[in-house]
């Protein structure tokens, strides 16, 4: 019995050492028949999935470090551009506001003098109680066209032009009258080239 146990032990030891050597010589996956079948199945599966899309992988290669810096620079540039855009928009709005104010002030100052200066922007002075600023501007423009100052100037000018004309006529008339009386006095200084005047007609009468 002891001998049999000894033989069995020796055989097992031989098996162990032999299998250990076999493990060294062969790839690890071939150690068990079932593992070999699994390896074949996995081999086929890996080949099958080889070109299938992978979750977020195999993107175009890029050297790290550089893209991070580039993206940081791009972000800074975008932020800077956005700030610049905001500044430009604010400046444009401010300029438009000032321009409208200046335009309104200029119109009010030229046409309506001192009274339009303060009230001209809103038109309240011109509009009275119901005026809004837009309506005021409209009324101011209307006033510019038809109001007292602009409208008055042409008509006033016409009137003024008429007055000097009238005055001239009057002067001329009086002058004629004056001329008529002068020869009547028999003044020898009267030139013979003055027939239009009434002098000679009256002169002989007066001289007779």
């Amino acid at each position: 019995m002891k001998t049999h146990v000894f033989y069995a032990g020796a055989a097992a030891a031989l098996l162990l050492s032999g299998s250990a050597r076999a493990e060294d010589a062969q790839p690890a996956q071939m150690t068990h028949p079932e593992n070999a079948a699994a390896h074949a199945a996995m081999h086929e599966a890996m080949q099958h999935q080889m070109t299938a899309p992978t979750a977020g992988a195999q993107l175009p290669a890029e050297m790290p470090g550089m893209p991070d810096r580039a993206s940081a620079t791009a972000t800074q540039a975008r932020e800077h551009a956005a700030q610049e855009q905001q500044h430009r928009t604010a400046a444009r709005e401010l300029a438009a506001k000032h321009g409208a104010q200046d335009a309104a002030m200029a119109r009010g100052g030229n046409m309506h003098g001192a009274t339009a200066g303060a009230a001209g922007h809103t038109g309240s002075g011109m509009m009275g109680e119901t005026g809004t600023s837009q309506q005021g501007a409209g009324m101011m423009r209307t006033g510019d066209m038809h109001g007292g100052s602009g409208g008055m100037m042409p008509s006033g000018g016409g009137m003024m032009g008429g007055q000097p004309g009238g005055a001239g006529g009057t002067t001329g008339g009086s002058g004629g009258m004056m001329g008529g009386t002068t020869p009547g006095t028999g003044t020898p200084t009267t030139t013979p080239t003055a027939p239009p005047t009434s002098g000679p007609a009256s002169g002989p009468m007066m001289g007779k």
């Binding site: 097992a12 493990e23 790839p27 070109t51 175009p60 290669a61 050297m63």
Partner: protein
């Protein structure tokens, strides 16, 4: 009877046993069906049960799941050169982790691969050559060094070593050898920790 018991014992000592094989088979089936998360679980179980190849299979599943750094760690436990397909997945893991030198080494070993693999190898090597052709910037070397130190700090020594090797290689291609001394010093610390059985 004793002999039979001894024979059974010796058979168990030789391989991971049928249980591991079943999990490997289940994992392979799930992998083929595109169920990579299920495949990963099966391979992890098989690995625990002692199937040595299960680590690399888990690496392949991790590649398909887009978990490149974990895949690099999984492949670190098995040497390249045993299986062309596994080496392909190893290369993709390195590539996706931006370890282009590591990927190039793995792909170079696939020169005599079949036509399907060879086409993919050519495509990927072209991408790598494009990235590696200019002189590496110091910022790039520093990025790998920072990764190395960060991963070492997380206790992932194998991954840290891969990043440090990459930093040393890239720095060595610069005239000023930027970062090479630092990378080598880090490797001297990291590599012993990355060896199997060592614990940090």
């Amino acid at each position: 009877m004793i002999a039979r018991a001894l024979l059974t014992l010796s058979a168990l000592a030789v391989s991971a046993g049928p249980a591991a094989g079943e999990h490997l088979l289940a994992g392979a089936g799930a992998f083929r069906d595109g169920k990579f998360d299920a495949a990963l679980v099966e391979f992890r179980v098989a690995e625990k049960l002692g199937a040595p190849e299960a680590g690399a299979y888990a690496g392949a599943a991790l590649v398909k799941l887009g978990r490149a750094e974990e895949a690099v760690e999984a492949f670190a436990s098995s040497p390249p050169g045993d299986d062309e397909l596994l080496d392909w997945y190893r290369a993709v893991a390195c590539y996706d982790a931006k370890l282009y030198g590591c990927a190039e080494r793995a792909l170079a070993g696939l020169a005599r691969a079949g036509p399907k693999v060879a086409a993919e190898v050519t495509r990927l090597r072209g991408e790598i050559a494009r990235v590696l052709s200019p002189q590496p910037a110091p910022a790039s070397v520093d990025w790998y060094l920072a990764r190395c130190e960060a991963r070492y700090g997380e206790g992932r020594a194998a991954l840290a070593a891969a990043y440090c090797r990459e930093a040393a290689e890239l720095g060595g291609r610069r005239p000023d050898h930027h970062g090479v001394a630092r990378a080598n010093a880090a490797l001297a610390r990291v590599v012993p920790a990355s060896l199997p059985g060592s614990k940090r």
